[in-house]
Symmetry: C2
Subunit: 408 residues, 2 copies
């Protein structure tokens, strides 16, 4: 019998309890022992819950109970979650988390703490919801030198973009629809401003390249400025607008990471990833490109990823495998200034105002005002683009994901 | 220092040697020890190879060398490969294989043999080339009850179908092109008749559902009868023809498995998988659908999957994890007789000959002869279809992948 505790009885926490209830028998069969949910920590009362007898409000009860092998942290945030994770690890209990904020900001120190106490700290559910990605990245792709990880990492923004493209809703309308369907939070800032994707690309970069990348080192642009006009121009160019997180290893071993909306050619499988789905592409020097696709969020998918970690930790109680990475340091993350891309620009002006921009492909869209132009430039850095624009600010400017980044 | 031997210095075997040469330093860093290639077994001579000094012709040298930890079997087939695998496992050496034929026909007994000798038998590279699929299936998705695994499992046939669709080549022309590009063997039977896909779905079914499924239990239809006319009708219906392997768990726990060309709606991500790429979708009761996509064959992708297994085995030398399954038994695999699908039919006749077939969607294609009809029927079993056809044989009959099988 293996006993676990869940911290935080919200969407994911209650999902974990449900996975144990529904799939407990098949899990026990695979694992060889039964998994028992012993405690649920939450400050709220759930008097009518079938789990009412497991609810506790004091973390010390869990911390001091030697029967608890694994603590599942689904509180979120980096305050109580950080404290309880530290205390659990120090007590020699392994911690499984779905908390991307905590991993992205404190992952390196928590992994070291786990190692020091012969425990595991695992967080498959923090990226890509139910999609197995961290585990394959840290294990199955080990024979490769990885050069880039990129992906559609946030389901809410992908839902919004998909419905702007498919049904011609404005950003605000699509956001409202996503909120009504429960795909977006009441306060959608972390999603639409790209912060959620930023945290996830930090975690992916750390695992892929071995050193921590902190969210404040990653230039992050969300989708709030994407307009229907942009979507329409992209469509005319047979591309889709997707919010991508990218982490690219440089020749010198340092890493470039950023989050921004991109125009993606329809021939690229990432362009086909719609609605709340996520997809992550890993490029290795032997394997080429591999893509992982599935539900990037949601109660049960995320809970199943949490439980997969729990099962893996329990299977290796005596031989913890130390998935780990090192501190990054201030100069480890390089700026995106040197990254060349073709650019999609939406500009106020006429074709004559494009002089100096170099060769461009001019795009059309139905109902464009006479003084609006959409173009795709040749490949250049942002600095070069700004020089050629001579100080005039485009209405929109987005990178086009380069052909060499296509899966082919 | 960990020492390995490669059996068979063909495409995959030499790829493994190359992965060690090119990525050896980064592998050593992750693994903590260096991996040394000590022997290569091949009956041929390679006097000019940089590996000439490692070549041996007698398996006993490897078998009796206590320094060899892991044997990489890339011989293929089920004769010498079977014997050497058995002998290596009996000598307590772990075996890593890319040999789908051997795993599909002898996997169950070889896994038991490995267990008995405290060794590992691993074969990530046998399905999906470089795509990590068996490992995620056996580990990351353990918290799910899996109901179906399906996929595009053969790159050669997918290349042929893609080029029939895209460039209007006949099956024979597309096959010839695939051969010229090195994507198809001189004798393409195992690919185009579906046998390769059959072996892979057997392995996937065994891992997903826990009991062995043998190739001869799996009805297998290849793509040799797919015509340009079929492709054209599918296109008109906004579908693509894809050779799919499917393994579906029934209510009673038994398994249905088969390989056949299907019409797949363009909205399904599997329809977008082109050329030599493979993709495998796993459906779990918590996670929903997850898809794994990448290069399903090729020297370096396959070699990188082999090396990932080698690294994993070396990391767990003292604590072998027993990925395993049981014997299936004669009545474990159920026939596809009860499987209902919509059917695409191409028939000789006119619309009046369709009486008795029930409601159909009539398809058109450019240049269709006057006495040819393409239709999609309502959902029914093959038996019911044959009854309604009253003995008249359609020119083509293919299942349409059902909507509920779409990722959505």
């Amino acid at each position: 019998m293996a006993k676990i505790a869940i911290l935080g009885f919200g969407v994911v926490g209650s999902g974990v309890a449900e996975v144990i209830r529904v799939n407990g028998a098949s899990i026990a069969q695979r694992l060889g022992v039964e998994v028992e949910l012993k405690y649920i920590l939450d400050l709220r009362d759930f008097p009518d819950s079938p789990y009412a007898d497991k609810l506790v409000k004091d973390f010390s009860i869990i911390e001091e109970d030697p029967e608890v092998d694994v603590v599942v942290e689904t509180i979120g945030g980096a305050r109580a979650a950080l404290e309880f994770t530290q205390r659990a690890l120090k007590a020699g209990k392994s911690v499984v988390s779905s908390n991307k904020e905590l991993v992205a900001t404190h992952g390196c120190e928590l992994l070291a703490l786990a190692r020091a106490h012969n425990a595991s700290y695992r967080f498959e559910a923090s990226v890509g919801g139910g999609i197995p990605i961290l585990h394959p990245l840290s294990q199955c792709l080990t024979a490769n030198r990885i050069s880039e990880v990129r992906g559609i990492l946030n389901g809410t923004t992908n839902y919004i973009l998909t419905h702007m493209i498919g049904t011609g809703l404005s950003f605000e309308e699509a956001l409202k629809e996503a909120q009504e369907r429960g795909y977006a939070e009441h306060d959608p800032t972390a999603d639409v401003e790209g912060l959620d994707a930023c945290r996830k690309i930090c975690i992916l970069a750390a695992l892929a390249f071995g050193r921590h990348v902190y969210p404040d080192q990653v230039p992050t642009e969300g989708i709030t400025k994407v307009t229907l006009a942009d979507v329409s121009y992209a469509d005319a160019a047979r591309m889709s607008i997707k919010l991508l997180g990218r982490a690219i290893q440089q020749e010198d071993g340092r890493v470039m990471a950023y989050v921004a909306p991109h125009l993606v050619r329809r021939s690229n499988p990432l362009a086909q990833v719609d609605d709340v789905f996520n997809a992550i592409t890993v490029r290795g020097n032997a394997i080429g490109d591999v893509m992982f696709y599935g539900r990037g969020a949601g109660k049960m998918p995320t809970a199943s990823a949490v439980m997969a970690d729990v099962i893996d930790v329990l299977q290796h109680r005596r031989t913890q495998r130390f998935m780990t990475w090192e501190e990054g340091g201030a100069d480890y993350v390089v700026s995106t200034d040197t990254l060349e891309s073709q650019w999609f620009l939406r500009l106020k002006g006429t074709i004559r105002d494009l002089e100096g921009l170099g060769p461009v492909t001019v795009l059309g869209r139905p109902g464009a005002p006479g003084d609006e132009i959409g173009v795709i430039t040749e490949s250049m850095t942002r600095g070069e683009l700004d020089r050629r624009l001579k100080g005039s600010a485009p209405l929109s400017a987005m990178r086009v994901l380069d052909e060499s980044a296509d899966l082919a």
